[in-house]
Structure formats: C-alpha cells, structure tokens
Amino acid sequence: MNIQVQFKQAYPGFSLDVDLALPGRGVTALFGPSGCGKTTLLRCMAGLTRASQGQLVVHGETWQDDVTFMPIHQRPVGYVFQEANLFAHLSVRRNLQFGQSRVPAARHRVEFDRAIDLLGIGHLLERKPAGLSGGERQRVAIARALLTSPRLLLMDEPLAALDVARKNEFLPYLERLHAELDIPVMYVSHAPDEVARLADYIVVMNAGRAIAAGALTATLARLDLPIRLGEDAGVVLEAVVVERDEAWHLARVEFPGGSLWVRDGGHSIGQPVRIRILARDVSIALEKVMDTSILNCLPATVDQLADDSHPALSLLRLTMGPSALLARLTRRSAVGLGLMPGMPVWVQIKAVALIG
C-alpha cells in the first residue's frame, strides 16, 4: 500500500470524505454511480481541486498535507480527462511533446516511439485534433499523459465519450498499458465491464464515501456489500488458458481451485485471462448431475448465505479452493436443499464470460 489518500471537502448537498490506503501498482478502479464523488477524489489527487483538508502521500513523497500543497504542475501525475482535452491549436505530435518537453530528459522513462506504438497513433502525428475520431483523440491523450513519465496515472472515465464499438476497440490498448508499463493507475468508472476487465483493486464509492476497498476478486465475492457490477452480482476470476479443443471451439481455463470450459476466444495456451461469472448463472445440486447440457459442473463448499435484494431470493457464497463464487437461488430452494455453511455441493455454471 504505497498511496495514502485522505480527503475531506464539503460542498452544498455533498461532501467527500475518504481515507484510503491504495496499492502502488496495478489498476485501481474508483467505481460508483454518477455523483458519488469519484471524479472529485481524482481531481483532489491531481491537485486540480484543492480539498479543504487532506493528505496525499505517494511512494513516500508527500504531495499534500496540512502544510504542503504541491501545485498541479509539479506533481508527477498523468491525467486523462473524460473528454480528451487535446490542445486544438497544436498537431498531435506537438500535443504529445507538450508534456514531454517540460520534464527533464533525465527523468524520461517512457520513450516517444514506445508510447505512440503502445497506443497505435503513429499515423496520426501530423494531424490536428479536430480531424481525429473520439477514440483516436483519447488514445493521443493517454500517450500525452504517459510521455510525462508519471509516477501515477489518473484516468477519469476515459471511455465515457465513446460508443460501444469504439470502447471495444479501445480496451485492448488499456490492457497493453497495464501489462507493459509499471505505472499505477487510478481508473474512475461507472461501467462494470471496464472495471471487471481492467481493475486489480477496487474502491466502491457512494455519496462521497468509500464503502468498500480491496482486491477486485475478493471484493466482488463479498456478500455483506451491495456491490453490483451492473445488473447483477458476480465474481471475476484470474485464470490461464490450459487447453484448447479445436473440434468444439472450446478452451479450458484454469483458476486457483478448478477449471472451466469456455468459448474459444482465440487465446493461446498459457495466456492469462479473466473470467466473469454472474450469480444468476450459477445453480446448485447436492449430487453430481450427469445428464445435463451444462458443461461446467464443479465441486464447491458452501461458505455463507445471505438475503438478496428480493425476499424470494438468497445469495450464496461458495468456495473452490482459494477462489470464491456467488450463486443466486430462491430461498425455497436454499431451504429445500438444506444448504448450510461447510456443506459440500456441486455448482453448475451456465455461462462464463471471458473478458480480456
């Protein structure tokens, strides 16, 4: 935990009050509904908004406390705005050089060619921002931020202004960034897919407060929190492709505690992937069911039972080795099966989404 964040700031009708210790590497998602304060928190971290009271220590360096307030332009951050916010009067190349040229050469850690290659913008360098598509603009904005060799990359819903097709085209660039550069990222989003796909760590915000914070996989599998990434509860598991069945276009992915068959997404063997399993796609049987269309049947142990949003439903937490799974079933079924913590059961997983 290398980033200490504590901010208090009251606005009419809203107050931000967070105190967090965040990991100094990987992608941390700040997730929550619109108006929950996630952008304000990000702006406070950049120094764009000055919180009345706050403390920010990044890798042992104090950026802000009761006596210190490091001005924005002295903070080694990269900031990617919702709208790309490129300088209209400069070409893409000059936009990229704007920040880079203001950082002493000795502190450059991201090469110009590396950044344009990572984000696939080499062919755009001589264009003006007005001639770019939304996705291209956002890629230039990210490269521009990277070229300041930031110690912390802050991204404020960089995909919000893009349509679905552009988003899908864009996400692989973010994943490459994640995989190839060792820069911690704070990623503000209210889109469950992005969070499930990109985040390692998640901070769930509501009404100016952080209501949960922790590793993504563990946090999503908690029962005591109303965390819904989208319409439904579900978990994300880190897995590796271990086998491909070319005849049936399936791939087997292994996660700590089991393995699953998924649709073959063209991944090579040994490649790390993420899978997302929604609670509504998981059902429970006391014995192994043989004649079923469901491909994935795994042994698991009941860990916890909790009420769900509707009185007819229960939410069940199951463990498979170190991994956890959520299942939704009617309370009648839960009582009928006599489900109790510690009980061994079989889970049938109807759908597994391979994300990234």
Binding site: A46, G47, L48, P71, I72, H73, Q74, V77, G78, Y79, F81, E83, N85, L86, F87, A88, H89, F98, G99, R102, V103, A130, R144, A145, T148
Partner: protein
C-alpha cells in the same frame, strides 16, 4: 487633390490608432483574463467601468477627461508634478483618451475568447507540467487568437473613427492633434466636398478591405 495637412491627418490617425491598439492589447489582455477567470465580486464593478464608454456619449467622456487632465484636475496636477506637462491638446492626451474610449472594444472580445475556452485547456496544461504563466502563454494565448484578431480590428477601427472625444481633448490642431475624422469635418464645414470625398472614400475602402481580408482568412474560425 490632397493637401499636406490631409496627409498629416492620415499619418497621425494611423499612428494614434496603431499605438492605442498596441497599448490596449497590453493592458486589455491581463484585464480580460482576470474578468473571464476571476470569481471576485469586484469583477462586476470593473467590468461595468470598462464597458462604460460603450454607452456614454463621447462628448461626456471627452469632457470629464478634459477636466481630469486639465490644469486644475487631479490627473493634470499629477502629470505636471511628474514634469510631463498637461496632456490635453497633445498627441499623448489623444492616446490616453483613445485607450479609454476604445477599451471595451478590445477587452470584450478577449474576455469572450478566454471565457469560451473554459477551464479545460488550462487544467490539461497544468497536468502536463506547465506552470500557470507557461500555460497562459503556450495554451491560452494561441487558443484565443481569433479573439485577439477581433479585438485588434475593433480597437483600431474605433480609434480611427472617434470624433467627439478627440474634439474635446485634442482640439483640432493640424499636424498635432488633427485626425482624419477632424479633417473630413473641416472640409465639409468649408464646403470642400471633393477633399471630403477623397478622405471619406479612402476610409470606406480601407475598412472594407480589412474586413474582407479577415473574413477570407477565417478570423472567427478555430486556429
């Protein structure tokens, strides 16, 4: 054809308008920036004062300036104390009066350009390690270029066209404070319509050409 006092009037007018525009861009830029970005309550007061020449009759401005800058006026005493003498009926007096008279025409377009820009470019520049001054010079000024062109054109044109203030503060001294509009007025008073035509027609052509050039180069488009 034109007599030399007319040539002198043209030269004087161009000098006056050029100098006034230059001074106004220097004073008006920080002022417009402050008016566009500040949250201070004082800005409404300052904004209203800057805009006053838009609604005041030029004769009123000229009269007050004459009183203020005259031998018994506070500013007049000040300039005398500085050893500058009295400003009314001198070229320097004309410049001071023109700067005040044309100020809204320079400040207003600049203020609008800076407001329209919003906070976003300055914030982006700050996150890219630009200090506030650096960001102002490298981002805000170039982005406000259309505003600067409008401001310079309007400032120049209004100074060329002023009459009332000039008459009050400058008098009508050939070669010293007699500007183009004065020269035209004198010709008309003396029934020298041909000379008046030459000067007035020249101004018309000049104004039209400037505007044509600006429009054809897309002065109100983004750079």
């Amino acid at each position: 054809m034109q007599t030399s006092p007319d040539i002198a009037a043209i030269v004087l007018t161009v000098k006056l308008a050029g100098l006034t525009t230059l001074l106004l861009l220097l004073i008006g830029t920080p002022m417009a920036w402050w008016l566009a970005r500040s949250h201070s309550r004082l800005k409404h007061v300052v904004g209203a004062i800057v805009m006053l020449p838009l609604v005041l009759p030029p004769a009123v401005i000229g009269f007050y300036l004459l009183v203020l800058l005259g031998p018994e006026g506070p500013l007049g005493k000040f300039t005398q104390a500085l050893g500058l003498g009295l400003l009314p009926f001198t070229f320097a007096g004309l410049v001071v009066a023109s700067v005040i008279y044309s100020m809204p025409f320079v400040v207003q377009p600049l203020q609008q350009a800076f407001s329209a820009m919003g906070d976003a470019p300055m914030e982006a520049a700050a996150t890219l390690r630009a200090s506030p001054l650096d960001a102002f010079i490298c981002v805000a000024l170039p982005l406000a270029r259309p505003g600067f062109i409008t401001a310079a054109v309007l400032g120049f044109a209004h100074t060329v066209g002023e009459f009332g203030v000039v008459l009050m503060i400058g008098g009508n001294i050939p070669g010293k404070t007699q500007v183009l509009s004065m020269a035209i007025y004198n010709h008309v008073e003396a029934f020298e319509y041909e000379s008046a035509h030459w000067l007035a027609g020249g101004m018309l052509c000049f104004s039209f050409l400037v505007l044509l050039l600006l429009y054809s180069r897309g002065w109100n488009r983004q750079p």
